[in-house]
């Protein structure tokens, strides 16, 4: 199943911030975690993650530092900041409202119009 790209874009920020609360990570590891969490359903264009991370860094939600990988390459690690945690909390509330509303809509849609059943 492919997820609509607007939906992916809208969920990208809370997803990345949420993943970073589990611990500092570098770009590729973040994407791998996204894949695991969504069971492979959320396919990002890999390159797009980095402008997003840079934007979050500019907004002060994450901080970055250069380290070295096991192979000795330069690697940029990202960590969530207190402001990022606040932002994540706020996003979480927004998504909860959206998710709760959607859940009710799904339930209403799944129940066929009740009176019609018995009389058919």
């Amino acid at each position: 199943m492919r997820i609509d790209k607007d939906l992916v874009a809208a969920s990208a920020t809370p997803l990345v911030l949420g993943i970073l609360t589990e611990g500092d990570l570098y770009g590729y590891a973040i994407l791998k975690r996204v894949g695991e969490l969504s069971g492979g359903g959320m396919q990002w264009t890999d390159g797009m993650l980095y402008p997003l991370l840079h934007r979050l860094e500019r907004l002060g939600y994450v901080s970055s530092s250069w380290g070295t990988s096991e192979a000795g390459r330069r690697r940029k690690h990202y960590a969530i900041t207190p402001a990022g945690r606040d932002e994540l909390a706020s996003r979480q509330q927004q998504w909860s409202v959206v998710a709760a509303a959607l859940r009710q809509v799904w339930q209403a849609a799944q129940q066929p119009p009740a009176p019609a059943v018995g009389w058919a």
Binding site: T45, P51, R58, S69, R73, R74
Partner: protein
């Protein structure tokens, strides 16, 4: 992973490709490369070979245009290249970043001191005019020698013609107010400028591309010098006005101290700025030339129409001829500058057609001038001024004719642009040689009159 040479080569190629994107900085490329390599390693672990893994990783990274657009949206400042005069971190090159600035300032101040001293010792205004270029040149050339670490052989190559010129200009017994002296004053800087070009090219002045670099450098220098002069004029003007209100007159200080230091100093600083910014403001040259090429065409055509309406130039005085020479030289500079700014591989387009029109218009003006000059010479006989002007016009005629011929060939796609480009650079030293002849040979031939 190091033994996979082909994969490494592919990654290297990809890096070069990504690096050309302005919005993606070198650090971002490192970050993306780390990502790419991780992805490749994971793909290979799941059974793909080098090539397949690379292709999948590249595909997953996404369309580079779209990604780079996304980077540009986040880092729009990067599209404005920043001029960094004093790099924050010095590389392993050795020289501490501030040293270059200090050396440049020393050269600039040195040029100012030389001009000031020259003005103090040479009380004669004509002698000052003859020596002005000679006083500034060593510092400009010295900057090139220093920044390019030129070997002593090249420095000596510069020193000999410089010394000859200095001796000639100062030893010749010029008649006071004579035209040979004025010609020497006008032509000596041309010789010196081309000598500076030799220093600029690091001694490899035979190289066409280095000559083109020098043409480019000259154009950019003119722009930077003008900018510095404008800024300086505003600053000085405001200071003057403010001090005048308080009753302090700065005028004597301006003539005696500020101008003798500011004008040559600004030349050295401008040269340094052009060197430092080379790749930063690359787009100004094509813009300027595409604005001024049509305008210059209009100017030349207006002149032509006015001259034809006036029925020839026989009665026209000498000043107009000199003025017209100046205009033609300016057109030539514009032509050279616009050629230096053009991508030699691009197919012919409207700007090239306009350039050809410019050349043809200049040719027409030059032809009118030559006719007028020959008529004057036939009527009034020879004079150093007329011969100098005639010589220059003949040089311009040859230059423009060949440029027009090659330009037509290029527009008809019969010739590559490089031929047109090469013609300009090949012809450049001819002007230097002619200027040297005017300075060195003319005075004795015409009895220093």
């Amino acid at each position: 992973m190091m033994e996979h040479a082909e994969l490494e080569a592919q990654i290297e190629q990809w890096r070069g490709y990504v690096q050309r994107r302005q919005a993606i900085s070198a650090a971002d490329v490192d970050e993306l490369e780390d990502h790419l390599r991780e992805q490749i390693a994971d793909r290979k672990a799941s059974g793909l070979d080098d090539e397949e893994a690379f292709l999948v990783a590249i595909k997953r990274l996404g369309n580079l245009d779209a990604v780079s657009r996304e980077f540009a949206r986040e880092h729009s400042d990067r599209l404005w290249k920043q001029l960094v005069l004093v790099p924050e971190k010095s590389d392993d090159a050795g020289a501490p970043p501030w040293r270059e600035l200090a050396v440049v300032l020393a050269f600039a101040v040195g040029a100012g001191i030389a001009v000031k001293a020259g003005m103090a010792w040479l009380d004669d205004g004509a002698a000052q005019a003859r020596n002005l270029g000679l006083l500034v040149f060593p510092f400009l050339a010295g900057y090139f020698v220093w920044s390019r670490r030129l070997p002593p052989r090249v420095a000596a190559m510069l020193l000999v013609p410089f010394a000859v010129l200095a001796v000639v200009v100062n030893v010749y017994p010029f008649a006071s107010g004579g035209s040979t002296e004025l010609l020497a004053v006008l032509h000596a800087p041309v010789v010196l400028w081309l000598l500076a070009g030799v220093a600029y090219a690091g001694g490899s002045w035979r190289s066409d591309s280095r000559r083109m670099d020098f043409a480019r450098f000259t154009g950019e220098l003119a722009i930077y010098y003008t900018l510095l002069a404008l800024g300086g004029a505003v600053l000085v003007g405001l200071t003057f006005a403010a001090l005048q209100v308080v009753g302090v007159d700065l005028e004597p200080i301006l003539a005696e101290w500020i101008l003798p230091f500011a004008m040559p100093g600004a030349l050295i600083i401008a040269a340094w700025l052009v060197e430092a910014k080379q790749n930063v403001v690359e787009n100004i040259a094509p813009v300027l030339t595409s604005v001024f090429t049509p305008l210059t065409i209009v100017m030349l055509l207006t002149l032509l129409v006015v001259f034809t309406a006036a029925g020839g130039l026989v009665d026209v005085n000498r000043d107009l001829l000199i003025l017209m020479d100046a205009i033609l030289v300016l057109v030539l500079c514009l032509l050279l500058y616009s050629i230096s700014a053009r991508d030699p591989l691009a197919p012919p387009g409207l700007p090239d057609a306009l350039q050809l029109v410019l050349v043809v218009a200049a040719l027409a003006v030059d032809a009118v001038m030559l006719t007028a000059m020959l008529t004057r010479i036939a009527e009034f006989g020879f004079s150093p001024n007329k011969i100098a002007a005639l010589g220059l016009n003949l040089l311009l005629l040859v230059h423009l004719l060949r440029a027009a011929w090659l330009g037509v060939g290029f527009l008809r796609r019969a010739r590559p642009f490089t031929q047109l480009e090469r013609w300009q650079t090949t012809y450049l030293p001819v002007y230097g040689a002619w200027a040297a002849v005017v300075v060195v040979v003319f005075p004795p031939v015409f009895g220093f009159s």
